[in-house]
Subunit: 698 residues, 2 copies
C-alpha cells in the first residue's frame, strides 16, 4: 500500500490534466506552484488547445506525453474525470490528485461520477487522492513537489501535516511558515474517496524525516482503522491533533443522559486512547508543534524559569501552574553559584530574574545552572531584548546550550524582529522555539510535558471475566439478549435487565415484590432493615406525590403498618408492594454506557443525582476499560474527594465501584448490540456498592 | 493636575541627565530613540564629561541648558538623583522620568533616597514618573516623543497603553506593531512614586485621539482612586484590562472559606464594577484592542458569518457560540437575493459559504445582504486568498463596505502577507481587523459584544434600609459592635451575632436553649415541629459522633423521649438542650463577606454544603449590592436551576434570598469594621429562607 502513497508523496513526474494559461485558474496555479517550488522532476501540462503553458510544453492528452508519468492532477469539470482516469490507467499512472469539486458532496449525479472514476482507478491499480481537495506538498530538497493550489512555500522541516479541511491546513502551514518554521509533508484529501487519513498518518509514521505530525479532523469514516493506525504511529512519534464542531455536537440531541453528555467528547476520547495529544485551539497546536520539532521531551513537570523582565514571568507562571507544572525551589548549590555569577540586582530564585541589564555571561550561567539542577526538567525563558544589552551575544549563549539538547527550552522572545535580525536569526538557527506571548510559550511547554505523561502512561490491563469465572455467566446473558431480539424489543424489561446484571455479578440492591401485607413483612425481613416500601400498581403514576413511598423503614412493626396504610389508601386489585433495601449514609453514583458507531462503547462514571444534572460531573472512557482506566475515572471527577473520607463522612468502597465498571465493560464488550445502558442511581457506602435502578437499550 | 501630565506626555523640550556615548547604555538608547522617532522639540543630553552625544551638543549640567526644559529623563545612579531633581527644580522643569532603578524596591537606603527626591520635587511642583521605569511614548505626528528605552517605533493610532510592568507593555506594543496597528500613547511608570496609574488613565480619558485604553496591572495602591477614575473614564471609552498572579493569589491562605475563595478574583470584580472589560490572556486583549480601534460596537449578539472555506468557519462557530453569540438564520428575502447573486456551489445559510472560487461581486453581495439583515449585529468573515481568485478586488469590496461603519466586521484572513501585499494593504487601509486564526478573530468579536453588554448594563439601585425602617436598627447593632471592640474581641459571640442579624432583620432559624427535659418539650412546641435537638455541654465535643444530635423530631412525645435519652446518656451537670427548628425540603445556601483593604467588602453567594466545598459554586460582588447585583448573583451560580422548580422539587423563595443579600450589604456598609461574615448554612424552601449558623469577625 505505502509504495502507492510513495507515488503520491514522492512523484518522479507530474502531469496536470486541465492545465491553463488563464491566470486566475487552478490549472494555472498548480503549474505555477510546481515551477516556483522548483520541483525536481518533469512537469507535463495537458490541455488540448494550448502549446505552451507558463513556458512548459503542453500536451493534447496524457497519452501524448513521451516519458513516464507517476502522479497526475485532474482539475477539469466532473463529467470528464472518469474518462481521464481511464486514460491515466492506460498511461500507467500510479496516483491521481483530483482537485475538482462537484462529486458526492453535490448529490447523486456527482456520486455516480465518483463511483465511476473509482472503479476505473481500481482496474488500473491507481490510487486516488481527493476529489474536492487541495493536494499534497513535499518539501524534501531532493524533490520539492508542490502539488497543491495553496500559497505557502514552506522550507524543509520535520513537521508533517494532514488536514481534513484545506482551509484549516492552509492556516497551519502559513502560521508555521510565518514563524520561520519548516515543514516536511502536507496533505489535505477532501472527499477522501480512496486514500484515507489513516493511510496518510501511516505514511508519515514511516517517513523518517517526519518528527511530529499535526492532524486536523472533523469526522472519522472508519474509526477502527483510525484507532489502529494512530495507536501504532503515536507509539513512534508525537501526533498532535485537533477536532472541531464541539458546540454543534454538544447540541445534538440524544435520548439518554449518557448520550447527551457524550456528544462533543468522543473524538477527544479516541485521541486519548490512541495516545494522540489533543488540542482545542489551532494556535496552541501550531505552537506545540514548533516546540516538538526542535526540543527533547521533558522527563517531568518541573520548570526552571529564567527571565530578564518581571511581568511576563508572572503571567507565564500562572499559565504553567494552571497547566499542571511546578516551579520547584533551587538547590542550595545552585543558589550559592548564582550568587557569584549573577548581577547584584538579580533575584535568585525560581523564577530567576537576571534583570534587564544582564548580558551573555549571566544568561549562560543561569541556563547552565538550571540545566544541572536534577529536580528541573525543562527551562522556560523570557528574553526581552534591551537595546542597552549586547543581545547577539546573549542569543549565541542560549543557542549553544540549547543545541546540547539536554532539556527542552521554550522562550517568550520579546523584540522587534525587523530590527533585531541577527539576534533572531541566531535563536532560529539554534532551534529555540520563540513565542510572542508568555501564555503561548508556557502552553507549548505544557504540551511537551503532557506528551511525556501520555508517552509514559500506564495503559493497564483489561480484566477478563471468563465464563463462569468471577461469577460471569455469559451464556445466560446471551439467552436473554437473544430472546429480547427475537421479540423485537429495544428497551429490555426490568427483570431482563436484572437477570443480565446478575449474570455479570453486578450488585443490585436487594429487592422483592410482595402480594400481601404479611408477604411484605416477610420479604422486608428477608432483605434486612432498613427498607423502602413502594405501592406498586398500574393505577399509581407518581408514587411519591400520593404518599406511595416510605423510606427508611427500620422494623417489622413499621413495615406492617406502612403496608396496611397503603392497602387501605390504594385499594386497587393489582396492588403489590415493591420492597427494596435502603442504604444509609450512601453516596449516589451513576454509570452509563453509550454505543458509538464503529468505535464500540463509551462508558461514563460520575456523581449521581443533582451532581450529574447540574454540574455534569462525569468522565468518559472508551471500552474495554483497563484497571488504570477505572482508577482514572474515579480520580478525575471533580468531586473525587467525596469518594474518600470527607468532612467527617466515611469514604466509599472504591474497589467495588471499579469492579462494577470492569464488569460493565466486560458486558458491553461481550454484547456489542447494547446501545445504551444506565445504572442510575448506584448507592455506595464504606462497604457496599450496588445499583438501585438500571436500564438497557439494544 | 492634568496640565502637569501634559508636560510628561506632550513635552516641548527634553533633557537627559546621564546621557552617554556608550552604545549599550540607557543614556545612549533614549537619545537614540528620541532622534530615531523624530522628536519635534529640542533634545538636550546632559553629561559633565562629553561635548557631543549622537551628534547633539551635550551640557555639563541641566542648569547650563540655554532654553526651557519641560521634561527630563534621569538615568544616573540613585545616590545622585535627589540633587539632580533639585537642579531640575531650579531650572523650572515640569516633569521628570526617573528611569534609574535601585530605590524603595531595594530596601531602606533606596527608600530614603526616594523620599528625598520626592520632597524636592514637591517643593518645585515637579511631577515624578517612576523611578525604576521605562517612560512614555507619544506618537502624535506633531510631537513624536519616544521618551523610553524600548524598541517599538509604532505609528500613530488610537490605542493608548498603560502597563505596570514594562515587559508586558513591551509585548503589547510590539505585537500590535507587528500586526500593523498604530498606537497613540504609552506609559509604564515602574515604582509609581508620584504619578499614578489612575492619573494616567484619566489623562488617556481626556485625550481626544485615544479611542481605546489597554491596562495591565498587577496590584492597586489606592483602590478607591482607581475605582473612581476608571468608572468615570470607562463610561466615556472602552478600557480593556488584564491582571496577573491568579495562581499565586489563588494559593494565598486565608482563615475563612469566603476569604479562600475570594483570592484570585478581586481584581476582576473591581474591573467589572468599574465597567472595565476584563481579559485573562495578553493575546486576547491585544486582538480585542485591534477590533475596538477600528470597528463600531455591535448592538447585540447575533453574527452573520461569510466564508470562502469550510473548516475555519466551523472552528469560528464553535468559538463564537462558546462566547455567548449566535448565528441566526437568514431572512427569506436574504436567501432569495443570495440565490441570485451567489455561485451555484455556494451554501446559502448562516454561515454563508461563498466557496473558494467566489470573486469580488460575490463577497460584495454577501456582505451587503448580511449588513441589511435586521437580526444581524455583526459580520464575521473568513477570507482565504485563493491564488485563482482576484483577491485584490475582493479586498476592495470588503474595505469599501467596512468603511461605512454600519456594523462591526472582523476577519480571519488566511494568506501569505508577503506575497499578497496589495490585498493585505487594502484590508489594512480599510481598517478591517484581520487575524490569523478563527479562534482569535472570533474572540475579538466576542469582546466587542461583551463590551456592548457592559456598556448597556443596568447597574440597579442599592436599597437603603433607613434606621428603624424596613426593620433595620443600626443603633442597636452599633452598641453591640462598640461593646465587642471595647472587649478587644475579634470573633463575636453567637448571641452578639444573632442580635446583630436581628437588628438588620436577617431571618435566622428559630432556636432556644432548654435546661430540662420538660423545658425542652415546651420550647420545641414553641418553635414548632419538626425540630433538631442537640445535647449541649462543654464535655461533648463531637456531638454527631456520640449520638448527641437528633434531627427531624416531629412531635412532643419524641422530643421528650430524645431529651430523656440524652439526659441518661450524657449525665453532665452543665447539660443543656439546644433546640432549633428543622426545615424540611430545604436547599442549603451560603452567604459570606470578606473585607478587602481599600475596597470595602466582597459579598459571596452560593450553594452550601458540599457544593461549595467541592464545586466552588459561588459568585462574588463588591458591596454595596444593587438589586441588579443580587439578581445576577442568583442567576450566575452554576446550579442556578436548583433555585427554581427542578425535577419535581419546588423552587425556593428567591426574593427572600435577595433580600438577605441586600441586608447583609447594608450591614457591612454601615459597619466597615466587619472583616468576615458567614451565614452558613442558610436553609431555603419555597416560603422561608433563614440562616442556621452565622459568624462575624471584626
Amino acid at each position: 500500500m505505502s509504495n502507492k502513497l510513495k507515488a503520491l508523496f514522492e512523484p518522479k513526474s507530474i502531469a496536470l490534466i486541465g492545465a491553463s494559461s488563464k491566470e486566475f485558474s487552478i490549472g494555472n496555479v498548480i503549474i505555477k506552484n510546481l515551477i516556483h517550488y522548483k520541483y525536481k522532476g518533469p512537469i507535463y501540462p495537458v490541455n488540448p488547445k494550448e502549446d505552451k503553458i507558463r513556458g512548459l510544453k503542453a500536451y493534447k492528452s496524457i497519452l501524448d506525453i513521451p516519458g513516464e508519468v507517476e502522479l497526475v492532477h485532474i482539475v477539469i469539470p466532473p463529467p470528464y474525470v472518469p474518462q481521464e482516469v481511464e486514460n491515466c490507467g492506460l498511461k500507467g499512472v500510479k496516483a491521481i490528485i483530483i482537485n475538482t469539486a462537484g462529486f458526492k458532496e453535490m448529490g447523486e449525479e456527482g456520486l455516480a461520477l465518483e463511483i465511476d472514476f473509482l472503479a476505473r482507478a481500481k482496474k488500473y491499480n491507481i490510487r486516488i487522492f481527493g476529489p474536492n481537495c487541495q493536494g499534497i506538498i513535499n518539501s524534501d530538497p531532493d524533490l520539492q513537489a508542490y502539488c497543491n493550489f495553496t500559497f505557502t512555500y514552506f522550507k524543509p522541516g520535520s513537521i508533517s501535516i494532514v488536514a481534513q479541511s484545506g482551509g484549516v491546513g492552509a492556516i497551519i502551514m502559513q502560521v508555521l511558515h510565518d514563524m520561520g518554521i519548516g515543514m516536511r509533508l502536507y496533505a489535505s484529501n477532501g472527499n477522501a474517496s480512496d486514500i484515507s487519513i489513516p493511510e496518510i498518518i501511516r505514511f508519515y509514521g514511516d517517513d523518517e524525516k517526519t518528527k511530529v505530525i499535526i492532524l486536523y479532523i472533523e469526522s472519522l469514516s472508519d474509526t477502527k482503522e483510525f484507532m489502529d493506525v494512530a495507536t501504532e504511529v503515536a507509539a513512534k512519534k508525537p501526533i498532535l491533533a485537533i477536532s472541531a464542531g464541539r458546540t454543534e455536537k454538544g447540541a445534538a440531541a440524544s435520548k439518554s443522559h449518557t448520550g447527551g453528555l457524550a456528544g462533543g467528547i468522543t473524538m477527544e476520547l479516541i485521541f486519548q486512547k490512541a495516545g494522540i495529544l489533543s488540542f482545542s485551539n489551532l494556535e496552541e497546536i501550531c505552537h506545540a508543534a514548533v516546540a516538538f520539532s526542535s526540543q527533547p521531551i521533558p522527563k517531568g513537570k518541573n520548570v526552571g524559569m529564567i527571565t530578564n523582565t518581571g511581568g511576563p514571568a508572572i503571567i507565564a507562571t500562572d499559565e504553567l501552574v494552571s497547566g499542571g507544572m511546578s516551579l520547584p525551589p533551587l538547590s542550595k548549590t545552585a543558589i550559592r553559584n548564582l550568587k557569584v555569577t549573577m548581577l547584584d540586582a538579580a533575584s535568585i530564585n525560581n523564577p530567576l530574574d537576571v534583570v534587564a541589564t544582564a548580558g551573555a555571561s549571566h544568561f549562560k550561567s543561569a541556563i547552565e545552572i538550571m540545566m544541572k539542577e536534577e529536580q528541573i526538567d525543562s527551562i522556560y525563558l523570557t528574553f526581552v531584548t534591551p537595546p542597552f544589552v549586547d543581545c547577539v551575544s546573549v542569543a549565541k549563549e542560549i543557542s549553544a546550550i540549547s543545541q546540547m539538547q539536554k532539556k527542552p527550552i521554550v522562550c517568550n522572545y520579546i523584540t522587534d524582529k525587523k530590527n533585531w535580525k541577527e539576534t533572531t536569526a541566531i535563536l532560529d538557527e539554534g532551534g529555540i522555539p520563540c513565542f510572542d506571548y508568555p501564555e503561548t510559550a508556557a502552553k507549548a511547554l505544557v504540551a511537551l510535558s503532557k506528551y511525556n505523561d501520555l508517552r509514559t502512561r500506564e495503559k493497564g490491563t483489561v480484566i477478563r471475566f471468563e465464563n463462569n469465572k468471577g461469577g460471569v455467566d455469559k451464556a445466560k446473558a446471551k439467552i436473554i439478549f437473544a430472546a429480547a431480539k427475537n421479540a423485537n424489543k429495544e428497551v429490555l424489561s426490568a427483570s431482563e435487565v436484572y437477570q443480565i446484571l446478575e449474570a455479570y455479578n453486578i450488585p443490585i440492591a436487594r429487592w422483592a415484590v410482595a402480594d400481601s401485607v404479611e408477604d411484605a413483612v416477610t420479604k422486608a425481613e428477608a432483605i434486612g432493615y432498613p427498607v423502602v416500601i413502594k405501592a406498586d400498581s398500574e393505577n399509581i403514576i407518581h408514587k411519591s406525590d400520593v404518599g406511595g413511598v416510605f423510606v427508611n423503614i427500620t422494623n417489622s412493626e413499621d413495615a406492617k403498618n406502612v403496608a396496611q396504610l397503603m392497602k387501605s389508601k390504594f385499594n386497587y386489585p393489582d396492588l403489590k408492594f415493591f420492597i427494596q433495601e435502603c442504604l444509609n449514609d450512601r453516596l449516589e453514583l451513576i454509570i452509563g454506557v453509550k454505543a458509538e458507531e464503529g468505535l464500540g462503547h463509551l462508558i461514563m462514571f460520575g456523581m449521581g443525582g443533582i451532581m450529574v444534572e447540574v454540574y455534569k460531573d462525569v468522565v468518559f472512557k472508551i471500552a474495554p476499560l483497563t484497571d488504570v482506566d477505572t482508577k482514572d475515572m474515579l480520580q478525575n471527577i471533580k468531586s473525587a474527594v467525596l469518594l474518600n473520607d470527607f468532612r467527617g463522612k466515611r469514604g466509599i468502597n472504591k474497589e467495588g465501584v471499579m469492579e462494577i465498571l470492569q464488569r460493565i465493560s466486560a458486558l458491553v464488550t461481550d454484547f456489542p448490540e447494547i446501545k445504551e445502558l444506565d445504572l442510575n442511581p448506584i448507592f455506595a457506602n464504606t462497604k457496599r456498592v450496588c445499583a438501585v435502578d438500571a436500564r438497557i437499550i439494544i
